[in-house]
């Protein structure tokens, strides 16, 4: 019987062999697919098992994980000032994440390859791995001042502040906003319900207006047109004379381009600085036509504008801005004063202001300042990068001077800060016939040593029908600049 017993033993060996091969296949190969299966509740629990890292701005905690003691969904995300920082932090929901929570997710939850050494040490010392902490470039004082000023009296809009020297984003506000704490509970049904409600809200609180929406920039765009003009001829300066008719006859159309409110602009011939101070339309329409579409488009591209450029990430993706397609001269004249199909994100206009302030060099905007692991070791440092050179330092200096004049002598008196040279440009962008305009303001300060550049928009209709860049938007920028400059 021994020969058959040995064959039976062989059969047993084959059975165990098959089982072993199968579990290897199951737990190593097939596991990758199975782990993605949405039926698996473990994926849901796993999100709440890790102590995610902090998101901080300076010493202010924007997002942290609190131990609830629950055995299955242990850590809950908490946003102490959720609504103010929502456009930066984003949210961490059972099935979704957004903004910084999404873009740095693998660092926050500790799964990034950059943290492999930390995980190795934790494995040996028996510590539970915590996620890395992400410090953002936001200046809490600026952010909170912006939120307060922009959110006052039911306004809607967005504000972006940049450090012109580095590109660090100091403030990014979008209003109306949402509370990311609403999406933090480990309860899919409740969170999905809350999300669906906000998604249906006609004010679109979930949209980050600062980077995900474009608006006609109105007169704030005139600084780009001016930059192109100054770059076209070195001899031009703030005191150069330019034609400023009351109405610019647009070629090949019956329409004309008037000044704001149909007013006259000086005596038909004014200085460049004056045209910017008073925000005359006709000189800029003419300059645009004279320079031509290509020149305007190239200048815009040097500021980072253009759908055909590499999409900007801060690290969130930014909607591309555009001066619009090439049409006829009438369209070009309107695009040159920030109308027609000229569409800019508030961030893009902040980059324009920052580029001018930084002597023509546009720095790439960014939000992540530093990433450190749970023990404080730095994993990622600040990543300053020049995006492009928009103009020569000489042209930039001339434009800075004119923008300072706008604040001191022109339409933006409301942005004056005692003892500080502020440069700025207002914009009052028409939206549609009979509807209130968008109120824009871009600015930087101090002009001789720029530390902050701000762009903001107050959306059409949210600040009354007679909203204007100078009256509505400029004071908000002023309060943000004061917060950063400690005035």
């Amino acid at each position: 019987m021994n020969s058959t017993l040995k064959r039976a033993a062989l059969a047993c060996m084959v059975m165990f062999g098959l089982l072993m091969i199968n579990i290897n296949y199951l737990q190593v190969v097939r596991a990758d697919d199975l782990k993605q299966n949405s039926l698996d509740r473990r994926n849901f629990f796993a999100r709440y098992e890790v102590e995610r890292g902090l998101i901080t701005a300076g010493n202010t905690v924007l997002a942290e994980s609190k131990d609830t003691g629950d055995s299955e969904t242990r850590f809950k995300r908490v946003y102490p000032k959720g609504e103010i920082y929502a456009p930066v932090t984003g949210f961490f929901a059972p099935e979704n994440t957004s903004d910084i929570e999404r873009e740095t997710n693998d660092l926050l939850d500790g799964s990034s390859p950059d943290l492999v050494i930390r995980r190795g040490i934790d494995l040996v010392t028996g510590k539970t791995t915590k996620g890395a902490n992400v410090e953002v470039t936001i200046n809490p004082k600026a952010q909170e001042a912006a939120y307060k000023a922009l959110g006052a009296s039911g306004k809607k809009g967005a504000l972006v502040a940049i450090d012109p020297r580095s590109g660090a984003i100091l403030a990014m506000v979008s209003i109306p906003t949402y509370d990311p704490n609403l999406f933090a509970p480990a309860d899919k049904a409740a969170v999905n319900k809350a999300y669906a409600k906000l998604e249906k809200d006609k004010d679109q609180p979930l949209v980050n207006r600062a980077i995900a929406r474009t608006y006609p920039p109105g007169s704030t765009f005139k600084v780009v047109t001016m930059a192109a003009y100054l770059e076209s001829d070195d001899s031009l300066g703030p005191q150069s004379q330019v034609d400023a008719p009351q109405v610019l006859d647009l070629p090949n159309t019956t329409a004309d381009l008037p000044n704001y409110g149909g007013a006259a602009c000086g005596a038909g011939r004014v200085t460049l600085s004056f045209s910017l101070e008073k925000s005359c339309n006709t000189p800029f329409g003419k300059i645009g036509i004279d320079l031509g579409y290509e020149t305007m488009k190239e200048q815009a591209a040097k500021f980072g504008i253009g759908p055909d450029l590499e999409p900007l990430r801060i690290p969130m993706g930014v909607s591309p801005s555009s001066i619009g397609p090439e049409e006829d001269k009438a369209a070009l004249a309107q695009a040159s004063i920030g109308q027609r199909s000229n569409q800019m994100t508030p961030l893009q206009m902040a980059m324009v202001a920052a580029g001018i302030a930084n002597d023509g060099v546009v720095m790439k905007p960014y939000l992540v300042k530093r990433v450190t692991d749970a023990e404080g070791t730095e994993i990622q440092g600040e990543d300053r990068e020049e995006l492009s050179t928009a103009m020569s330092p000489e042209s930039a200096a001339k434009l800075q001077e004119m923008m300072v004049n706008v604040v001191e002598l022109g339409t933006a008196g409301a942005a004056k800060i005692p003892g500080v040279k502020v440069g700025g440009k207002t914009g009052t962008a028409e939206t549609a016939e009979g509807r209130a305009p968008h109120a824009w303001f871009i600015s930087f300060a101090p002009a001789d040593d720029p530390q902050i550049a701000v762009a903001l928009i107050v959306e059409s209709g949210s600040a009354g029908d007679d909203a204007s860049g100078g009256q509505t938007a400029a004071p908000i920028a002023k309060s943000v600049m004061e917060a950063v400059l400690n005035k």
Binding site: M1, N2, S3, T4, L5, K6, R7, A8, A9, A11, C12, M13, M15, F16, L18, L19, M20, N22, I23, N24, L26, Q27, V28, R30, A31, D32, L34, K35, N37, L39, D40, R41, R42, F45, A46, S71, E72
Partner: protein, 466 residues
Amino acid sequence: MSAPTVSTPSAEPVALPAKRRMAQLVMLAFAVLIVMAAYAAVGLGIDGKIPSGMLTYGLGLGGFMLAAYLVLARFAPWADPLILPLVTLINGLGLVMIYRLEVGAGGEGGASATNQLLWTAVGVVVFAVTLIVLRDHRALQRLTYTAGALGLLLLISPLIPFIGQEINGARIWIGAGGFTLQPAELAKLALIIFFAGYLVAKRDVLALAGRRLLFIDLPRARDLGPILITWGLSLGVLILQKDLGSSLLIFGTFIAMLYIATQRTSWVLIGILLFAGGTIVASSIFSHVAARVEVFLNPEDPALYYRELGGSAQLLEGLFGMSQGGVLGTGLGQGHPGLIPLAFSDFIFAAIGEELGLTGLMALLMIYGLLVERGLRTALAARDPFSKLLAGGLSFILAWQVFIIVGGVTNLIPLTGLVTPFMSQGGSALLANWILIALLVRMSDAARKPPPQAIQDEGLTQVFQR
């Protein structure tokens, strides 16, 4: 003691095989230590401290095993030294996992480590009693037909009104009051004793009579009786009790023993054909068999996952658990094995796979494999056909049962409900398997014991040392 002055070659003792009792004791202690460490890991994983029950459970298990060891050392001193430590480790890891599931579920959901520990104690007692009472396992050969009748009775007992109970869709339980028993587990032992006794008696006729057709020796039609009866029996289990697992277990073991006894491959082929035919017919008539196959083929189909009766939820949750475990596992107390329905019984293997990973499962299969190997080695070393067949059958059924349940849980074959030997929560199975181990130990003792030695070298009357 002074050396004898005169040495006679014939009186010099033959070199004895080592008993290796010390090695066995050390390995036993090692197994208990592993189990205690696992308890500690569960506590640390769940709430960061060593559970207070660690010493109770650990010393309890250690105490039972020490008792089992002492009985073994006294009544079966030559037995294989590996068998008891291997079983201790498997049984202990099962206890740990059940404890972990009980704690994880907050005491709800049916997992009860205390019950399982009590049943382990009962198992050890039965193990000891078997060894003490059954001094010579060949006595079982005389009980061949009694065992057969007993096995049959146990197998059909769940169908008897009043004492039979249907739980979770299978009528495989008998019970009175709150106490239930799964008689199929005990029936399998009785049936193996019957098969061994019967086949030893009839193997010549089953092996030799018949004619050759093509390459296969076909048996005579009238010799097909036993295989047809067993086939009918297992189909009966399948149909009347909806117990696919036991049906496959019993029939497969019978075929294996038939092959071992007769050396005829044709029996295996006939057996496979019969079972396949029976299953195909059954699956076309009975929806639960077809559902198992459907689930086996498409476990990830959401429609099957949400199907209430005969759905894939349990299998898929187990697969999810093992996937999450990956190579190293989540660590004891740190996964979610509580999401797997019946993780403490049929799906304990998946729960282990989640928390101990591929590494843990490979180790576990190795331990099972070693246990089977020790059993088969006993069969090879046994000195009479009945012992060979009995030891072979018991070893094979262990391997076969592990294959059926683990293969089912890991989606290698369609899932049929069976307990994972020594691990799944359940008294009857634990009891039956401890008896199985006692029988193997008894036979291993007999096989390894040196043959009687003459202690005097002359004269007509010889005195034997036993």
